[in-house]
């Protein structure tokens, strides 16, 4: 980019410090959130087998979730500071509360199911988990979008939907792995439908992002993005065509979709890092906006000149 000025090509923004735990959590949090919804819905329509297995899947993910998040903290022993305030301006704070409630409810329900006791309490826990599942599956889109990272912030319309679709696909796919094909019908539909919806949303996101979105074709983000597409679509195809008859195909297809969804979260994660690293992604859109609409960020002598800011 020669038409963008910078300070020795140095980044304007700081790269997110998040490590592998965060994209992994984006995946497992999605599995937990969507599984809670699948579990109670399946029970509602009489599919006890699917309901019980997705309850366990969701609870297992909810056990892993806090471990991943705490591990990523610079001061893990202070993880509980997240819950000393309730702050709607902080998606991470809201997310911590949502995870706290959903995780508590889903693990309680799973434990009671395993022990076969306290049915009414279990049902209440399942209901709470059902209600907090969808926010858990989608808030992470707001979490990453509410930053200054161009490739995340400019995709704020699509990210909660993209993450929601990905969560649905991965919860469905996980259920296909652990549930006999006979009772996994809804899970197959969710896995395939989620992958299709995710593909469309990804396309919409790229259309909106334009040049900012080119990081998804480069470096680590590009590699994860391609891997996500290949694995999720081939897994979905396998589930759609053979998932009903063959348990082996259901397991393999489900595993491929899950791996693809995990790669998608890593693609988004790395896209954010790459977007922060190159100053042009910050400077170019802002400079264009300033030239087009004028900016109040700079005040020139005799304000009249303010709207016509020379680019060089």
């Amino acid at each position: 980019m020669t038409d963008v000025q910078s300070y020795y090509g140095r980044p304007v923004l700081k790269e997110p410090t998040w490590m592998w735990e965060i994209p992994t959590y984006l995946f497992t949090g999605g599995v937990a959130g969507a599984s809670s919804v699948v579990s109670l819905s399946a029970k509602l329509f009489g599919n006890e087998e699917l309901s019980r297995r997705t309850l366990y899947i969701g609870a297992a993910a909810d056990v892993v979730n806090p471990m991943l998040l705490i591990s990523d903290l610079g001061r893990p022993e202070r993880f509980h500071h997240m819950l000393r305030v309730f702050k709607v301006t902080s998606p991470m704070n809201i997310g911590a509360w949502v995870l706290f409630v959903n995780g508590g409810a889903s693990t309680t329900a799973a434990a009671l199911e395993l022990l076969g006791i306290l049915k009414p309490v279990k049902l209440l826990a399942e209901l709470v988990s059902f209600l907090f599942g969808p926010p858990l599956a989608t808030y992470t889109g707001v979490l990453v979008a509410d930053t200054a990272i161009p490739v995340w912030h400019e995709a704020r319309q699509e990210l909660p939907w993209l993450f929601g679709a990905s969560a649905t696909a991965s919860a469905g796919a996980a259920a296909c792995i652990f549930c006999p094909p006979a009772s996994a019908g809804p899970a197959r539909r969710l896995a395939v439908g989620g992958v299709v919806a995710e593909g469309l949303l990804m396309h919409a996101m790229h259309l909106r992002l334009g040049e900012t979105g080119e990081v998804y074709r480069r470096g680590a983000a590009g590699a994860f993005s391609t891997a996500a597409k290949v694995m999720a679509s081939s897994g979905a195809l396998m589930l759609a065509r053979r998932g009903r008859r063959s348990r082996g195909a259901a397991v393999l297809g489900g595993a491929l979709v899950c791996a693809g969804e995990l790669c998608l979260r890593f693609a988004v994660h790395h896209a954010g890092k790459q977007s922060a690293r190159d100053p042009k992604y910050v400077v170019k859109p802002q400079r264009e906006r300033a030239t087009r609409d004028g900016t109040r960020a700079t005040t020139r002598p005799h304000e009249s000149a303010a709207s016509a800011s020379p680019g060089t």
Binding site: V88, P160, A297
Partner: protein, 301 residues
């Protein structure tokens, strides 16, 4: 009250008025780069006063700048830019060479994204209208790092050799971390409490860094800009002085001699949380559709 949810910038720092009787006039920095001589006394004074750990020594090859950027261990950073541009617009162009220097610092935004997104409340608005991290609260989640539109905040990672004899009190799940918290300029909160000016401003030998009540600094900056214009300085402009800009104006604003991006500053920054209200509503719609889709898929069984 925090900034909220799509609210238009007003120039009043969020949370400043909550202090009631204890509220102090809002203070800040006016950094006038036209008189900066690049001595880096501000960098040194800041490090000394705030006991900031060393962060290595390396030659960058970028003029006299061997600091590079603001970071957890650098709260004042002097940028150096060598240009083939005349200093004054009325020069005949025969001496078209100039050396720009600028001491950068945390902007102490009126609408501060770092403060908004901090999930623990570690980042707070002081009675002076500044933005400070409480280091006994910060748990190192790192959310403020990508939230800052200026790339000011960062996590501190002390090399383990500097930590000999110190056993960090942490819970090692997948490995050991060092300091792990985020650090940034406090506008010398401790010195303000004692009635002193911040260390960098006191150390500055040319009054390039001026400290004081923000209203006074605004008036002084406007006067200075008019003077530079009268003298025909090339590219003189104030940066983040206007309370109507994307961050509601800064507590630390600047007089620059070229476009902000030349100094590594974003040309039109906007507080990250400006669109948060619509983002939450958008998420609620996505969550609702997800619920309907899953219930629907199960109903067809």
């Amino acid at each position: 009250m925090s900034t909220l949810l799509g609210q238009e910038p007003t120039g009043v720092p969020d949370g400043h008025e909550a202090y009631g009787d204890e509220q102090q006039p809002r203070v800040g920095f006016f950094t006038d780069t036209s008189v900066c001589i690049g001595c880096k006394a501000c960098e040194v004074a800041c490090k000394e006063w705030n006991l900031i750990p060393q962060d290595g020594q390396a030659w960058t090859g970028h003029s006299y700048d061997n600091t590079g950027e603001l970071s957890a261990n650098t709260w004042r950073h002097v940028a150096f830019i060598e240009q083939e541009k005349p200093l004054r617009t009325n020069d005949d162009g025969t001496t078209a060479l100039r050396w720009l220097m600028e001491s950068d610092v945390c902007k102490h935004c009126t609408h501060a994204a770092c403060l908004d997104v901090c999930p623990t409340g570690a980042l707070f608005r002081t009675e002076f209208g500044t933005v400070v991290v409480q280091e006994d609260i910060c748990n190192g989640c790192g959310y403020c790092v990508p939230a800052c539109p200026f790339g000011v905040l960062d996590k501190r990672d002390i090399p383990s050799t500097a930590n000999v004899g110190h056993q960090p009190d942490l819970l090692p799940i997948f490995g050991k971390k060092e300091d792990g918290r985020v650090w940034k300029c406090t506008l010398c909160y401790d010195r303000l409490k004692g009635g002193h000016e911040p260390a960098c401003a006191q150390a500055c030998p040319t009054k390039s860094i001026q400290f004081g009540p923000l209203d006074e600094l605004h008036a002084r900056a406007d006067e200075r800009l008019a003077k530079l214009e009268a003298e025909g300085w090339n590219g003189a402009q104030l940066y983040l002085r206007d309370p109507e800009d994307g961050i509601g104006g800064a507590g630390a604003f600047f007089l620059l001699l070229d476009e902000p991006e030349v100094y590594g500053l974003p040309p039109d920054p906007v507080v990250t949380t400006k669109h948060l209200g619509s983002m939450w509503r958008n998420m609620a719609r996505a969550a609702a559709v997800l619920t309907v889709a899953i219930v629907g898929a199960c109903a067809r069984d």
